[in-house]
């Protein structure tokens, strides 16, 4: 059976990539990533004066002789190699399954599995979590080679989960995620960023995700033009109730003015979120835009051409690793 969450990107291509994060983000114990702090790797970091307690084997005798007669010894320091933790959060609101012709959730799950694959190649930890998901849904944690399989299971569970329906306003459930942020190096949020954060829970999560020099990367998916163009020229239409917004059974007219108003409201909404979320670690690049007329069959091409070049992917992954 074909797995719809299987990313169309070449696995060979992903296997050549490694996580490439800022060297200042939090990390854990020994790993593969070079850090800016002193450690036990083979990567030279700096010279400094010998201090009591330093390993005598770290003394650079040649440099100490060049230092002269003051008698101070010079020791070499090396950078540390530590393991990263990548937190991948998917927005699973029922509205993410729209548009029906090319669901945003599919794109998000593809991106999630690609990022997880990159993290797995360097043995990093990955945490999979959802916002607006079902109640009592616990995040899934995996490390190294176990990550791809965990990512596949997580994506399938999300895609095959019962659809609660579009009508109700989704409830953000972020408590379980907040507890896992402590060892995280970077947090990636995959969403269309159209949700209502009336309780402020998501904003608090975003702010917490940037503490301790952590990074919060937002991957925004923009389907406004594609969805609007699909029906706006066809005459009056009835709108379904979505996330608490009801339009009744009366057909409505749509024109450019409505679209302009929509863009304005969405921009205001995003600006409001940016303002609330803005901390030192927020990276919210331009969105991935759905082409007008996109169908399910064309999603793979769109993903292949947009995701590897997206600012988010380039900000996280690099060939050869670091």
């Amino acid at each position: 059976m074909i797995d719809p969450t299987e990313p169309p990107l070449s696995l060979n291509r992903l296997q050549r990539l490694r996580l490439a994060l800022r060297k200042t983000v939090p990390s854990q114990t020994l790993g593969t990533h070079l850090r800016r702090k002193q450690g036990q790797s083979l990567q030279f970091r700096d010279y400094r004066a010998y201090q009591r307690g330093d390993d005598i084997r770290a003394v650079d005798w040649r440099a100490s002789l060049r230092r002269g007669d003051d008698g101070d010894l010079i020791v070499k320091t090396f950078e540390a190699e530590e393991r990263m933790t990548l937190v991948l959060i998917a927005d699973v609101r029922p509205a993410m399954r729209l548009p029906q012709a090319a669901p945003k959730l599919i794109y998000a799950l593809w991106a999630l599995r690609c990022l997880a694959q990159v993290a797995a190649e360097a043995g990093d930890d990955v945490v999979f979590a959802t916002v607006f998901g079902r109640q009592n849904a616990n995040p899934l944690r995996a490390r190294g080679r176990a990550v791809p399989d965990a990512a596949r299971r997580f994506a399938r569970e999300v895609w095959l989960a019962d659809d609660p329906g579009l009508e109700a306003e989704p409830e953000a459930r972020v408590d379980a995620i907040a507890a896992l942020l402590k060892p995280a190096s970077v947090v990636v949020l995959l969403s269309d960023m159209l949700f209502a954060d009336t309780s402020g829970d998501v904003t608090r999560l975003a702010q917490a995700a940037q503490k301790n020099r952590r990074m919060l990367l937002v991957m925004e998916m923009d389907t406004l033009a594609m969805e609007y163009a699909a029906f706006a020229l066809g005459g009056p239409v009835r709108l379904a109730t979505v996330e608490g917004r009801a339009y009744g059974d009366t057909p409505r007219l749509f024109g450019n003015d409505i679209y302009d108003g929509l863009q304005t409201k969405v921009a205001d909404h995003h600006n409001d979120l940016r303002r609330k979320w803005a901390r030192s670690g927020l990276v919210w690049p331009d969105p991935v835009i759905w082409p007008v007329g996109l169908q399910r069959a064309g999603m793979a091409d769109v993903f292949n051409t947009t995701f590897p070049l997206s600012p988010l992917f380039r900000a996280v992954a690099a060939q050869g690793g670091i």
Binding site: A95, M96, L98, P99, Q100, A101, K104, L166, D192, L194, A196, T223, L224, E227, Y228, F231, G235, P236, V237, R238, L239, A240, T241, V242, E243, G244, R245, Y247, D249, T250, P251, R252, L253, F254, I258, G261, L262, K265, V266, H269, Q295, R296, A297
Partner: protein, 530 residues
């Protein structure tokens, strides 16, 4: 009419269903929460605006399914099935009547027939084509088709049969094996058949040499009556082939009774015999040297106890004849016409009226009915010369004239149910008229009191006493032996087409149309969702 009405209603309903124009489903937008309030459309569309569905593939598929389903319920037609592949469907009809047990070249006719059947099976198998076979055993009646493995277990049955059973077995209904060949193996001759020219190849293989045989065919019993004082047994014996004059005796109560046989004056090879039985009881007509077939040499029958003639004799001037015993109210009433009581008209009766002497009148016979039982013994010329008076007054209800004068007066009248005759009373004057009157009176009495000839229940037995049902059907063992058809005729042939009902095809069409409609709608749904 009902079918037409039902079909019309169903078809109209389907068309009406398709002529609706349904509102499209509401559009789902992921950004609907942030959408500015769009203006309401002023134009309204009718929910049930009519559209012509002729361009809808789903409509035609549903219409096809509907019509086919109605056809399943209402059409009672058959279609000519396709002609099958080249192959052999062989039905073997094996005669297992009693004569098949006759010896034939150190075996029996049945053994010889079995060899022929096995040879036919080998011939069919040698064709290399698909072969299906079945075996039908035919005795007095045709059996049901079975497997040819039953050939070895086939045994002669103690019963006779005729070719009608064989033909019925050959033309019996076809079950799982489409027939291309029918082989009948029997010792009987092939009858004239109206076999369908496009039906299976029909082969009649006759076995058994022609051998002479004799057998009793039937027996009849005549109880004692007024005309004959003793009971009588009549026996018919038939011979087939070159046979000597048969010798028959009866074994029964009182021992062996010889039967006198005379050749039939009008039929060859048939002898008629009679004997006087010794009362009621079980009898066996035994044929001595009865020829090749022994199953018909003994004919057993039972003679019933016969009571004497019961007559209620009330004629004062004439005594009842010997052999007649008096009875109460049940027997034949012999009485003067004037003395018949009102309730006695319902009894069988012989009523006499005073016709003689006629007082010198000269009568002329008028219209009369041919009634040989009554008038054969009467010379009508002598009767006319000495004609009696006619019945005075009207005839009693139920009586019709038999003999009248030219003036319409009735000399003799008869009633059929219950039996009744009105004749002139016998005259005892010693003259010429006395003989005439007594002859007429006693002829009428014998006619009413006669009990005819009885056919007793009979059965044939062989020398061991085993009952052979209908053995007389097996007696003709001297029939000509026809040449056997070559078994090479059992060769591959296209199995014939058969009439098959149409409704399964219509049901299949309905099912396929429904599945196609569902698949179409599913495909459209998936495409819409994608």
């Amino acid at each position: 009419m009902l079918a037409l009405l039902l079909a019309s209603v169903a078809g109209a309903g389907l068309v009406a269903w398709h002529m609706q124009r349904r509102a499209p489903p509401p559009v789902k937008l992921s950004f609907a929460r942030l959408l500015p309030e769009p203006p309401v459309s002023e134009t309204t569309e009718r929910r049930f605006a009519l559209t012509v569905p002729l361009g809808s593939v789903a409509f035609w598929l549903r219409m096809l399914a509907l019509l086919a389903a109605l056809g399943v319920l209402m059409v009672d037609m058959n279609r000519r099935g396709a002609v099958g592949d080249q192959g052999i469907g062989l039905r073997i009809v094996l005669d297992v009547t009693h004569s098949m047990g006759l010896p034939q070249d150190r075996v029996t006719r049945l053994d010889a027939a079995r060899i022929v059947a096995e040879a036919a099976l080998v011939q069919a198998s040698a064709s290399g084509q698909s072969v299906c076979t079945e075996l039908v055993l035919a005795g007095a009646n045709a059996g049901a088709p079975g497997a040819v493995s039953g050939l070895s277990d086939a045994a002669v049955r103690p019963e006779g049969g005729d070719v009608a059973a064989l033909v019925a077995a050959a033309a019996g209904p076809v079950a799982d094996c489409p027939l291309t060949h029918v082989l009948v193996v029997t010792d009987a001759r092939k009858p004239a058949l109206d076999w369908a020219p496009d039906g299976p190849v029909f082969l009649w293989h006759q076995i058994g040499e022609s051998v002479a045989n004799t057998g009793p065919r039937s027996v009849s019993f005549t109880p004692p009556g007024l005309g004959s004082g003793r009971a009588k047994i009549d026996l018919v014996v038939a011979g087939f082939g070159d046979v000597p004059a048969p010798v028959v005796w009866l074994d029964g109560p009182g021992g062996r009774i010889p039967v006198t046989l005379q050749p039939s004056p009008d039929r060859d090879q048939v002898w008629l015999g009679n004997a006087t039985p010794n009362g009621a009881g079980h009898y066996v007509a035994v044929l001595e040297a009865g020829g090749a077939y022994g199953g018909d040499d003994r004919l057993a029958f039972v003679l019933p106890e016969v009571e004497g003639l019961a007559v209620d004799w009330r004629l004062a001037g004439l005594a009842a004849p010997r052999g007649v015993q008096g009875s109460g109210r049940d027997g034949l009433l012999v009485v003067d016409l004037a003395d018949v009581g009102p309730e006695e008209w319902a009894r069988p009766l012989l009523a006499v009226y005073p016709g003689w002497p006629n007082g010198g009148q000269v009568g002329r016979i008028g219209a009369f009915v041919q009634d040989p039982a009554l008038l054969a013994a009467i010379n009508l010329d002598a009767f006319e010369l000495n004609a009696p008076r006619t019945v005075s007054g009207p005839l009693p209800p139920g009586f019709t004239p038999v003999l009248t004068d030219n003036a319409g007066g009735v000399y003799i009248a008869r009633r059929s149910n219950p039996l009744g005759l009105i004749v002139p009373a016998p005259l005892r004057d010693g003259g010429e008229v006395e003989a005439l009157s007594l002859t007429l009176f006693f002829t009428a009495l014998a006619d009413l009191a006669g009990r005819g000839t009885m056919l007793p229940a009979m059965e044939w037995r062989d020398a061991q006493g085993q009952v052979i049902e209908g053995a007389a059907l097996e007696s003709d063992t001297a029939r000509a032996l026809d040449a056997a058809p070559p078994l090479s005729l059992i060769s591959p042939r296209a199995t014939p087409a058969q009439d098959v009902p149409v409704w399964p095809l219509l049901a299949l069409i309905a099912l396929v149309a429904l599945m196609a409609e569902r698949a179409l709608m599913l495909w459209r749904g998936v495409r819409h969702a994608v």
